[in-house]
Symmetry: C2
Subunit: 248 residues, 2 copies
Amino acid sequence: MLGVKTMRVLIIGVGNIGKQILKMTHFEKVYAFDKFRKDHIPDIHWLEEFHVPEDVDTVIECASPEAVKEYSSQILKSPVNYLIISTSAFADRVFRESFFEELKVSPAKVFFPSGAIGGLDLLAAVRKNIHRVIIETRKHPKSLGINIEGETTVFEGSVEEAAKLFPRNINIASTVGLIAGFEKVKVIIKADSSLSNNVHIISVISDVGKYEFRIENLPSPENPKTSMVTVYSILKTIESLNSKIVFG
Amino acid sequence: MLGVKTMRVLIIGVGNIGKQILKMTHFEKVYAFDKFRKDHIPDIHWLEEFHVPEDVDTVIECASPEAVKEYSSQILKSPVNYLIISTSAFADRVFRESFFEELKVSPAKVFFPSGAIGGLDLLAAVRKNIHRVIIETRKHPKSLGINIEGETTVFEGSVEEAAKLFPRNINIASTVGLIAGFEKVKVIIKADSSLSNNVHIISVISDVGKYEFRIENLPSPENPKTSMVTVYSILKTIESLNSKIVFG
């Protein structure tokens, strides 16, 4: 249980991730907005219409890329910390450019937690020196809706192209694109029947070094489609706002 | 050039890393302390005796583990952001425990930049679920002062043991130890004559996933013993204090 009793938060999207965050934290006050459900959760103030209540200091988006696109303009008008998980919204260049234009005059501070991966600390540090990032995601063929034995490349291309074909699967590539520049990122998706878990391999070529991050997350027991790592990365970012110690 | 014109900093240690930081930033005011040199650098206020001037908001240590041990108590009495690079100081359990005891009542906020590596974001997120971290560092035999062909294991043991034998080489292991717990970290040092650059391989076994980070930094052109990545990681942390966007 993360005690952040001075924080007043608005959670957008109370699905698996949002529920886990609420279970594992103790905020002073929690507002919640979800277009599709309003489950009974103790001590939650459900919003009927989307807005950022005046006493909120932190907004946590764990809903969908559509929610990021729909509500960011309103959120950026408020002096809040804004944590964004559904970064695939930013694979849309038009939205991306308007978001960062609005951010210039916004009183908000935006946080992109690491989500399902790691190494954003290093990527952000060397971002001006990056030549190329390759993000290879390997999944069991069943997760990709195909039926093969062995290994095959399902997709190879830009983040923008991947976003059209696999809209629910490119938060990682989008976050990396936001750091390194979308034009430097290549996405590879492979089906591999030998895997029991999804594997992400992020390879970085830069002026100052070569890096490879191999990430194999175990599925969350309560929802096999997500991993607890995403929840923990949000908690880490929330904690860093309040903690006396910050890593990375 | 990173413009952080509202910051008033104290830099401890003005060697290769400190000089690079000064070259690449524009602070409002810079105090500097270095036991061993006081090179002429424009617009720097050299301190004769160590203290934290009252108008300083950020202290950047890039000196040595000895400096961390000697000055941290004084720094922790001030309401500053305190960036620590020479984390090998924390391989000393007695110092470590007294530091974190003092931090409890300190008005300071402590930052551990990623230094020469990456993935601290993920490590910090899953830290309560980590079983074991192995940090394998591979260097050319010459860098380890030995003369062999091929590959051989030079050291295998705890961070504390490594700190005694390789006191200048365990910042990475110490930073990881601070996150995961020193008792969970195993250090392996290998000589490998096939390498042209140092390679660090960080393997993490946790309840929520398995991770491997492979890091090969190129030596800095001005000082082959350090890499520019460490400098960039400090700049990234400084920037995150002022930026509207924070990653990881």
